[in-house]
Amino acid sequence: MEKRVTFKGLWLPLLLVAPQLAITAVFFFYPAGQAIWQSLFIPDPFGLSMQWVGLGNFEYLLSDKYYRASFVTTAVFSILVTVVSMGVALYLAVLADRLIKGSGTYRTLLIWPYAVAPAVAGVLWLFMFNTRVGVVTWYLGLLGYDWNHVLNENEAMGLVVIASAWGRISYNFLFFLAGLQAIPKSVIEAAAIDGARFWTRFRTIVFPLLSPTTFFLLVVNIVYAFFETFGVIHTITSGGPQQATTILVYKVYSDGFVSQDLGSSAAQSVILLVIVGALTIFQFKFIERRVHY
């Protein structure tokens, strides 16, 4: 069944993939190689001297129980961000798909948050949930709930998850909606005629047919949660209270770019690289099997 075009010879295929290879080499292999190289040293910030420490940076990191704890924090954070942003997006997309009137407006409004930069989104949420003057805090206060993410670790985690997931919902929504619209109406109508209710139709037809989109979004969202959320964390909590929201990538950022501990930061990014690589391989090997294209 495989439809593959095969090229004869070596040069033509090489030439065709060369631009892609060049981009990968310049923007991925070179920096990744640099990170691995630097992770073996303790350099001074100005690049005046480098102390060879071998695997010393890794030993230092892995023997630090606070660093090890941030693996758990990262896992919790990434799962929550992915589940929340994909779950809400799917729900909204299903609703939008059923709309007939005003669907254009509805969609446009839902796509807007994607245009907001993460750090700005962070500030917006921070204002709403400010412990003393935030609007949401005030309403929660009326309900008798004392919101204080500055000291309460769970609330801080909740807040950064919401702020990180919020902008992502738009992106996921777009893909889910496109995926839903690509499902042939005839199939669904046939099921409806056979007496399948909405929920049954969704579970047995729509969701499986949507699986390529879901799988793609799963990979993309996990990568997002792992790598692109430090702006939100930086503006809202700076990793606190205590270490409740210190995820791996935030620590890479703050140790490297705020504190100039480049050796440790490089070692951390190597660790992160390995984790995300392993995760992606896992996803492609095990989850993709359940995907129907």
């Binding site: 420490v53 230092y60 700076s238 606190g240 140790d255």
Partner: protein, 436 residues
């Protein structure tokens, strides 16, 4: 038409080249925006207008960390500015970057400039000089923590607004009274590590770190878990538990609460003055930072925060001459006195303080000299000269985390400070290795 444009362009290029040849350009990277940015721009304009040999180009490079990063990245690319503003926490990093920075005393000596390090206030100078008293960077904006008081809030709670708040014991009594009167936010703070550990240590003449707080060598260890600091954090922790001390965040988030009239007492930098004066719609005053009565040697003097100007290596002699002239201009009494009065930062020289007094500023704005007095009351000791630790930024992060554990009631003061020491020492060992 085309020819005309290119001729014009050529003329423009030649003209710029001419001015460039006549005037040496000096690049100055700083971290100030808003009102402070305007004031820096004004200083630079005044300097540029005052002479014709040099032109200073001031550029804003982001916040303190970003400016330091920009300087480091530029140095690595061989494009460093002549002058880089670095916050006090980055001092050890800069000091150890031999080959990247040119000490100010050298710049001044090479340029043959008239420069007297002793003109600077002791506690300011001490932070930025070698053990031998040679000035490495020029103090620029320096502040020190003080106690801001909302007088109206005290009156409303039935407390005499002139009540004695000089010691933490007295502050404790006032907090009790405020709480009893139903006040929601008796005390809040900004910069908890700087004020409640670093300054508390210096003010009570106990070490924050061994080796004279890091001045005597990089083989230093934290000593912030001593009895004085532990007692202070324990008291603060108890106040947090009783709802008398409200924690608002790691930076100066509490400023909004104080300026909005919500909090009665606020420990914050003296440089909070400009903002409080502009926004507070209540009667406020400034008091010296409280100390614990009964601790021997207290009150010693508080230490500074803020930034200093570092001169970078690799520029021409001509540029260094200009740098020397510009730095001398910045530390002149007139410039400093104006800066001090506009911002609430300390006057960094005794001459600027005297000039401010002569101009009658302290009489018109009572309390603005509290910080100066607090800094200069005593000759700094080895414990109160300043703090010079590598990876200090990360250490402050660790301290923030540990203090949050105390405020949340998860750890006792002793546990938290012991843990901060242990984690901070690991970073200090790494820094020692990189500075070797």
């Amino acid at each position: 038409m085309k020819l005309q444009t290119s001729l014009l362009a050529l003329a423009a290029v030649t003209m710029t080249a001419n001015t460039a040849a006549a005037q040496t350009e000096i690049d100055f990277w700083h971290a100030f925006t808003g009102r402070l940015g305007e004031l820096v721009a004004e200083q630079v304009e005044t300097f540029n207008a005052s002479q014709s040999d040099y032109v200073v180009n001031a550029t804003h490079k982001g916040n303190y960390s970003e400016t330091l990063n920009a300087g480091i990245a530029a140095f690595r690319a061989g494009e460093q500015p002549d002058i880089l503003m670095v916050f006090e926490v980055g001092t050890a990093t800069m000091m150890n970057a031999k080959g990247a920075v040119k000490p100010v005393y050298e710049v001044m000596a090479d340029a043959g400039a008239d420069f007297d390090a002793d003109a600077f206030i002791g506690a300011v100078k001490g932070y930025y000089t070698t053990a031998g008293g040679e000035m490495l960077s020029l103090p620029f904006n320096s502040s020190t923590p003080v106690l801001w008081v909302n007088r109206d809030a005290l009156s409303e709670a039935g407390i005499d607004p002139d009540t004695d708040l000089s010691t933490w014991q007295k502050v404790g009594e006032t907090l009790d009274a405020l709480k009893e009167a139903g006040h929601d936010c008796p005390l809040t703070t900004a910069w908890q590590s700087w004020i409640h550990l670093e300054n508390t240590s210096a003010y009570h003449d106990v070490p924050f770190a061994t080796q004279d707080n890091g001045f005597a060598g990089v083989d230093t260890e934290l000593a912030l878990n001593g009895p004085v600091q532990t007692q202070h954090i324990e008291a603060m922790g108890q106040w947090a538990k009783d709802g008398k001390f409200i924690y608002t965040g790691r930076r100066n988030e509490g400023g909004a609460n104080f300026r909005g009239g919500e909090c009665a007492l606020f420990t914050e930098s003296s440089a909070g003055y400009a903002g409080i004066k502009a926004e507070a719609e209540f009667d406020f005053d400034v008091r010296p930072l409280p100390y614990w009565e009964g601790v021997e040697g207290a009150p010693q003097n508080t230490i500074i925060g803020g930034a200093s100007l570092w001169v970078m290596e690799g520029q021409s002699d001509e540029e260094y001459k200009g740098v020397a002239e510009f730095l001398n201009f910045l530390s002149s009494p007139e410039v400093q006195a104006k800066w001090h009065q506009d911002t609430g930062y300390l006057p960094i020289t005794s001459a600027a303080a005297d000039l401010t007094r002569e101009q009658g500023f302290y009489d018109e704005n009572p309390g603005t000299d509290v910080a100066v007095k607090q800094m200069t009351a005593n000759e700094p000791t080895a414990n109160s000269k300043g703090i010079r630790l590598g990876s200090f930024d990360q250490i402050r992060g660790i301290i923030d985390e540990e203090l949050e554990a105390v405020w949340a009631g998860d750890k006792s003061a002793q546990e938290a400070l012991d843990s901060a020491k242990e984690r901070g020492d690991a970073l200090l060992r790494r820094f020692e290795q990189s500075a070797r």
